[in-house]
C-alpha cells in the first residue's frame, strides 16, 4: 500500500520532462523581488533597533574605555607625562591617551559584531535569515554598517568627553573627524576577527571571552599607553607587529599634529602623513585579509553545514 500512494504521483510527475514553470500558478502573490539596497536597509534598521533597545551594548562598551581614560590619567598622569615629553613637545597625558582610548572604543565595538552573529546563530535567527530570499551580502553589510555607526557615535562621545577633561585636538574639528575615520578603519579587522571566532566556535561564551580577552593584551603591547621608546625591548618588538600600534599612532598623529610613528620610519610624505600613510596602508591590508577570510567562512557556514 505504501508503495501505491508513493508511486502514483511519482509516475505522473515524471512524465513532463521539465517541471512546470510557476508563472503565477504557484506563487499566489508575486514576490516583489527585493533590491540589494532594500535588503541592506532592513538589516541595518534591525541591528540599530537592537542596539538602542539594549543599553548595555552602547553604554557597556563605553564604560571600560571611560574608566581607563579617567583612571590612567589620574594614576599614571604624573609619571607618564615625563615619558611622553621626552621628545620635547609639551603635551599632557590626557592628550596623549585620548586617541588610544578612541581606538579602545573601536575595538570594544568591533568585538560586539561577532557576539551579535553568534547570538543570531544560537537563537536560530541566522538560519531564519538564510531561508529568506534576501541577498546574503546585503544582510551582513547591513549588520556591519549598524555596528560601524555605533562605533562612530561612541568615538564622538569619547572625544567630546576627553576634550572636556582637558585633552586638546591640535588639528581641530577636521582632525577629530580624521580620528573617527581612523577608528572605523581600525575596527574592521577586529570586526572580521570577532566574526571569525564566532563562526569557528559557534558558541556565545567563547566568542565573548575570545573577543574581549584579546583586547587588553593587544592594547598593552602597543603604543597605546606609552610611547614606543618607554616600553621594554620585547614589547617594542611585539608592538611593531600589533595592529593596535598602527591605529593608535594614526589617531595620535591627528591628535598631536605630529609624525608620531616610530615602529616604521617613513619620511617621504611629510608631517603627519609620514604616520598616516603607513598606518592606513597596514590597516587596510589587514582589513582586506581578515575580511576576506571572514567572507569565505561566512559563505561556507551559510551554504553547506548547518549541523
Amino acid at each position: 500500500m505504501s508503495d501505491d500512494t508513493d508511486a502514483a504521483p511519482s509516475g505522473r510527475d515524471g512524465d513532463p520532462s521539465p517541471e512546470p514553470r510557476p508563472d503565477g500558478g504557484h506563487a499566489r502573490r508575486a514576490p516583489a523581488g527585493n533590491s540589494f539596497l532594500g535588503d541592506f536597509w532592513v538589516n541595518f534598521v534591525r541591528w540599530n533597533i537592537k542596539a538602542v533597545r539594549n543599553p548595555f551594548v552602547v553604554v557597556g562598551s563605553l564604560l571600560q574605555p571611560i574608566i581607563f581614560l579617567i583612571l590612567f590619567t589620574q594614576v599614571f598622569g604624573q609619571i607618564a607625562t615625563g615619558a611622553i615629553s621626552g621628545g620635547g613637545a609639551d603635551i599632557t597625558y590626557e592628550t596623549f591617551l585620548l586617541p588610544a582610548i578612541a581606538m579602545q572604543v573601536s575595538l570594544a565595538g568591533a568585538a560586539g559584531s561577532g557576539i551579535g552573529l553568534v547570538n543570531d546563530m544560537e537563537e536560530g535567527l541566522f538560519e531564519k535569515v538564510l531561508v529568506t530570499p534576501m541577498n546574503r551580502a546585503a544582510v551582513f553589510l547591513g549588520k556591519t554598517a549598524a555596528e560601524l555607526v555605533r562605533i562612530v557615535v561612541q568615538i564622538v562621545i569619547i572625544l567630546v568627553l576627553g576634550t572636556v577633561l582637558g585633552a586638546e585636538i591640535a588639528t581641530g574639528v577636521p582632525g577629530a573627524v580624521g580620528i573617527v575615520v581612523m577608528g572605523v578603519l581600525f575596527s574592521l579587522w577586529f570586526v572580521a576577527l570577532s566574526n571569525i571566532i564566532a563562526i569557528v566556535t559557534e558558541d556565545q561564551e567563547s566568542t565573548i571571552i575570545g573577543a574581549n580577552l584579546l583586547q587588553f593584551p593587544l592594547l598593552f603591547v602597543s603604543t597605546a599607553f606609552l610611547p614606543l621608546s618607554a616600553l621594554p625591548g620585547w614589547i617594542q618588538t611585539v608592538a611593531r607587529f600589533n595592529p593596535v600600534t598602527y591605529g593608535v599612532d594614526g589617531a595620535r598623529a591627528l591628535m598631536l599634529d605630529q609624525d608620531v610613528m616610530t615602529v616604521i620610519e617613513v619620511t617621504r610624505f611629510g608631517g603627519i602623513w609620514d604616520t598616516l600613510v603607513p598606518a592606513i596602508a597596514v590597516l587596510a591590508a589587514l582589513d582586506l585579509v581578515l575580511g576576506g577570510l571572514m567572507v569565505y567562512l561566512l559563505n561556507r557556514v551559510s551554504s553547506s553545514s548547518v549541523k
Binding site: 505504501s2 504557484h26 499566489r28 516583489a32 527585493n34 529568506t132 548547518v306
Partner: protein, 348 residues
C-alpha cells in the same frame, strides 16, 4: 486565496517532488538515503519519525538550507540547487527551535519578515496586522518578544513564516515543547491556512498530531521512507483489535501477566503480546472475543486486573508496528498529549 492556476483538482501540481534524495554530512553520516516523495499542492502532508530518523535533514534540504548530496528536489517547480532564491521566495519555513528576535517587538519581528520576503510596501501594514491577528498577538504587538511565553513566541514564529502568504509552508516539529492548549491553538491556525489553499509539510514525532492534521503521512526511519498513506490506511494496515489490560503490581507482575496471557490457547497464533506502562497489550484479529478468557486466566493466576479496554489501532500502534517498536532514546513516540510534552521537556 483563489486558485488561479486553472488546473483541476485531480491534476494538482507537485509542491514538492523529491527523487532519490540523499544527503550525507561532511562527517560521513548518511542522514537521508534515497527518499522519493511527492506532495501535491494544497495537501497537508505529515512526515513522521523518531528522533534522528532524518526528518529535519529532509526538511532543511527542501528549504534550501542544505544541498542534496544526490538525487533531485524541486520545490514549487524550482530546483533547490539551481534556483534556491526562487524556492526561498515561495516558501515559509518554521524551524524546530523557536526563532524570534527577543529584542524586537512582535510587530517588528513580523515587519522584518515581511520586508525580508519582499511583501510590497503598500500591503505590508495590512498584512502585518492580519498575521498578528491570526496568531492572537495583536494586543501585545508592541511588546518585546523577550517578554513572551514559549507558546506566544511560537505563535509569533508562525506569523513570521506566513507573512508573505507562501503557497508552501514547512513546519519542523512546530508544537514540540508546547502545552496542550498552545498546541491546539497552533493546530487551528494550521488547519485554517491549509483550508485557504496553502500546502503544509509538517514533521512531527507526535503521532496524534499527524493523525489529527494530515491528509497523508510518510513514516521515515533511518533516513528512508518505510510507509506512506492516509492515517486511516496506515491504521488499517496494522489490522486487528487491541486489548489493553491493566494489572496491579510491579514489572514482575506485568511480565508474569504477559506469560499468562500468551499461554491462553484460544488466542490466534499471530497474536502479539507486549508489555505496556500499566499492564499488557494484546493485538490480534478478533481480540475482543477472547477478552473474557484472558481475564479468567489472569484471575486464576492470582493477578488483579485494574483496567480493561478494547480499541482500534491508534497511530502509536502503527508507528510501533512500522518501526519495530524502536523509538530512539525511548522518548517522544506517544499519542498522549501531556505525557508527550512532559517527556519531551524532561529529555532536554
Amino acid at each position: 486565496m483563489s486558485d488561479t492556476s486553472g488546473s483541476t483538482a485531480d491534476e494538482r501540481r507537485a509542491a514538492i517532488a523529491a527523487r532519490d534524495l540523499g544527503l550525507t554530512y561532511a562527517d560521513g553520516t548518511e542522514a537521508v538515503k534515497g527518499v522519493d516523495l511527492t506532495v501535491p499542492e494544497g495537501e497537508f502532508f505529515g512526515f513522521l519519525g523518531p528522533n534522528g530518523a532524518g526528518k529535519t535533514t529532509t526538511i532543511k534540504t527542501f528549504a534550501t538550507l542544505l544541498a542534496p548530496t544526490s538525487g533531485s528536489v524541486t520545490v514549487n517547480g524550482f530546483d533547490v540547487r539551481e534556483e534556491p532564491r526562487r524556492v526561498r521566495e515561495t516558501i515559509g519555513y518554521m524551524a524546530q527551535e523557536t526563532s524570534v528576535d527577543e529584542e524586537l517587538t512582535a510587530r517588528e519581528n513580523v515587519r522584518f519578515a515581511a520586508q525580508a520576503y519582499g511583501v510590497p510596501r503598500s500591503e505590508r501594514a495590512d498584512r502585518i496586522d492580519e498575521l498578528l491577528d491570526l496568531v492572537d498577538l495583536a494586543d501585545v504587538a508592541g511588546k518585546e518578544a523577550g517578554e513572551f511565553s514559549g507558546g506566544m513566541k511560537k505563535r509569533l514564529d508562525v506569523a513570521t513564516a506566513l507573512v508573505h502568504d507562501p503557497p508552501l509552508v514547512f513546519l519542523d516539529e512546530p508544537t514540540t515543547g508546547l502545552d496542550p492548549k498552545a498546541r491546539n491553538d497552533l493546530w487551528d491556525y494550521f488547519r485554517r491556512i491549509n483550508e485557504e489553499g496553502t500546502t503544509l509539510f509538517l514533521t512531527t514525532q507526535y503521532l496524534e498530531e499527524a493523525d489529527q492534521l494530515c491528509e497523508r503521512i510518510s513514516v521515515i526511519r533511518d533516513g528512508g521512507i518505510v510507509a506512506t498513506g492516509s492515517p486511516m490506511e496506515l491504521k488499517r494496515e496494522v489490522g486487528g483489535e487491541i486489548l489493553d489490560i491493566d494489572v496491579e503490581g510491579d514489572d514482575g507482575v506485568r511480565e508474569r501477566a504477559a506469560e499468562v496471557v500468551s499461554g491462553v490457547d484460544v488466542l490466534a497464533a499471530d497474536a502479539e503480546v507486549a508489555l505496556s506502562d500499566d499492564g499488557v497489550t494484546v493485538t490480534a484479529e478478533r481480540a475482543r472475543e477472547h477478552g473474557p478468557d484472558l481475564l479468567v486466566a489472569l484471575r486464576d493466576a492470582g493477578i488483579t486486573v485494574t483496567g480493561f479496554d478494547v480499541r482500534a489501532p491508534t497511530m502509536d500502534d502503527v508507528f510501533l508496528a512500522i518501526t519495530g517498536g524502536e523509538s530512539d532514546e525511548g522518548d517522544g513516540v506517544t499519542s498522549d498529549d501531556d505525557a508527550a510534552t512532559e517527556r519531551e521537556v524532561s529529555a532536554e
